[in-house]
Amino acid sequence: MPINLYIFLALALFSIGVIGVLTRRNAIIIFMCIELMLNAVNLLLVAFSKMHLADSMAAGAAPTLTNGIDAQLFVFFIMVVAAAEVTVGLAIIVMMYRNIHSVDVNFLNRLKN
């Protein structure tokens, strides 16, 4: 499959995430949209990893070559960091819910006054 299709898919998922972050008002849903952005990146990383492997094979490299493996490692790092971020993020949302019994980010506009 040509790489362009993967790029389109990943960019579509990423854009859905960005639009969700910008338009939704519920903190949990914004959070889900951010996760969607991260996972679009993961998908594209794996696709690029395969692409670079195929490129180096086509250039006549040995079949055991590990080109492109660093992208797959990067995916694991993103997963771990995303998990750490979820822990902190959900704790913050829970802390806010305890104080105001709502997870609506419109509440944030009060700071400006």
């Binding site: 972050v21 990146v41 594209l44 990383l45 080109n67 790092f77 993020g89 913050i92 802390m95 104080n99």
Partner: protein
């Protein structure tokens, strides 16, 4: 490498200190001692003494610039601990954990000052950001702190997503995460990925350093966070992200084949104008300092604009001068009962030492000669003049520096020329001497900036 490993260990040590003791002075002593150790270990590395011999396979490169910046960041944090450690412990019950989180942030700071791979950049920025979300929200019962923390978290996670998209597109174009151009495999058909990736990365870093038009979260977050942590966030963390920004684009600029100076100059102009003009209209000194930090970011962005020897010296001086002066101002601000400009009325009569040192800090922020802030601004502008292009930007920056004098001097005017009680909480004499020390350092480096800059070369 010394700093990365040691700061992570010290973070864990501080967490255990919190388990074994709740005695505040013990926790403070451990934190200050640990900070001193970290500073000495980093200076040892700057003098060529590595405690750990680890093959990082080109992912980390310890340059003089990065190590010198680490020393400045650690030194500034040490002063910050000495001045404000009591106030850190006042924020909540888990005093030792706050110090532990600050040590983890310093681990991230030393990673981003020496990264050579985009993977390490991502990890470093996240190691800095995640503890900061917690510190911002550490005042759990305070609604403003909650809001600031949620806002900071959502904005930070969003910009991390954008950063990752940029990194992956650059990887797709060049087949490596390294920022070293000799390791990258160029492919003309994929240059468009590289450029768009670079652009996304630029946007996300602009988010992190609060450059306009991505600055909107800054005033709210800086205002809502507990004042001690705002002080840390606005100085050391911000300067560290700038060092990462400069390292990141050092090679990528020439590599992309576009005229990046145009984009950077527009961002600088917008940042300077928005930061300075909005700061004029603030009623609270804390919020004014938040906008002033946006304005100062505009000057620091000149390092990205010019890329020559002067700009490297400039970013070092700027991070030093800005950190020292802002930490000093915030340390005084924490002691005030009223954060508005009126709260400072008549401070010169009740607390003459506080008023005098605050005046020196504010003069340094405004860039008056004899203070380090002057040379910082001078080096930045001189580096831009040296490039020979975009002279209007330099003129605009000078006008903005003149505008900034207005709102900094409002505080000085309130302290010296207005009648008022100037109420503060109780102040120890050690605190006064420390403020005099910080003010002395500002003037010392303001007269002899080469005392710092020599370390870049020798």
């Amino acid at each position: 490498m010394n700093a990365i490993i040691l700061s992570a260990i010290l973070g864990v040590v501080l967490m255990f200190t919190g388990i074994f003791t709740t005695n505040k002075s013990t926790i403070r002593a451990v934190a200050v001692g640990g900070m001193l150790l970290l500073l000495l270990a980093n200076i040892a590395e700057l003098r060529g003494m590595q405690f750990f011999d680890i093959n990082t396979r080109g992912m980390l490169v310890f340059s003089k610039l990065g190590l010198l910046f680490n020393s400045i960041a650690f030194g500034a944090t040490l002063l910050y601990f000495l001045l404000s450690a009591r106030d850190v412990l006042e924020v909540g019950e888990n005093g030792a954990d706050y110090f532990a989180l600050i040590f983890f942030i310093l681990c991230g700071v030393s990673i981003v000052s020496s990264f050579n791979s985009l993977l390490l950049l991502f990890l470093g920025i996240e190691i800095i950001s995640i503890p900061l979300y917690i510190l911002t929200g550490s005042d759990k019962r305070n609604l403003k702190s909650n809001e600031a923390s949620l806002k900071y978290f959502l904005m930070g996670a969003f910009s991390t997503g954008i950063m990752l998209m940029g990194i992956v597109l650059m990887y797709g174009a060049r087949a490596t995460f390294s920022i070293d151009p000799t390791l990258q495999i160029a492919n003309a058909g994929r240059d468009v990925w590289y450029t768009s990736g670079l652009m996304l990365l630029f946007i996300s870093m602009a988010f992190k350093v609060s450059a306009a038009p991505f600055h909107f979260w800054t005033p709210d977050v800086y205002d809502g966070a507990p004042t001690v942590f705002t002080s840390f966030m606005a100085t050391i963390v911000k300067a560290a992200v700038f060092i990462a920004f400069v390292r990141l684009f050092e090679f990528s600029y020439s590599n992309s084949g576009y005229d990046w100076r145009l984009i950077v100059s527009v961002v600088i102009a917008a940042t300077l104008l928005i930061g300075n003009i909005t700061a004029i209209f603030q009623q609270s000194v804390k919020r004014m300092l938040a906008y002033s930090s946006i304005a100062q970011a505009g000057f620091m962005l000149f390092a990205l604009f010019s890329y020559n020897a002067l700009s490297k010296e400039g970013i070092i001086l700027y991070s030093l001068g800005y950190s020292l002066a802002t930490i000093g101002v915030f340390a005084v601000l924490i002691k005030m009962k009223d954060y508005t400009f009126e709260g400072f009325n008549g401070l010169a009569r009740t607390q003459p030492v506080l008023a005098a040192t605050t005046t020196i800090f504010l003069l340094s922020l405004a860039g008056i000669p004899m203070t380090i802030g002057f040379f910082a601004k001078y080096f930045m502008l001189a580096s831009a003049v040296k490039t020979g292009t975009y002279l209007w930007l330099v003129i605009l920056a000078i006008i903005c520096a003149a505008i900034s004098v207005y709102y900094y001097f409002r505080v000085i005017q309130a302290m010296y020329f207005k009648e008022g009680a100037g109420e503060t909480v109780a102040i120890s004499s050690v605190f006064r001497w420390l403020l005099i020390l910080v003010a002395g350092l500002i003037i010392l480096f303001g007269i002899f900036p080469n005392m710092i800059l020599n370390y870049l070369y020798f």
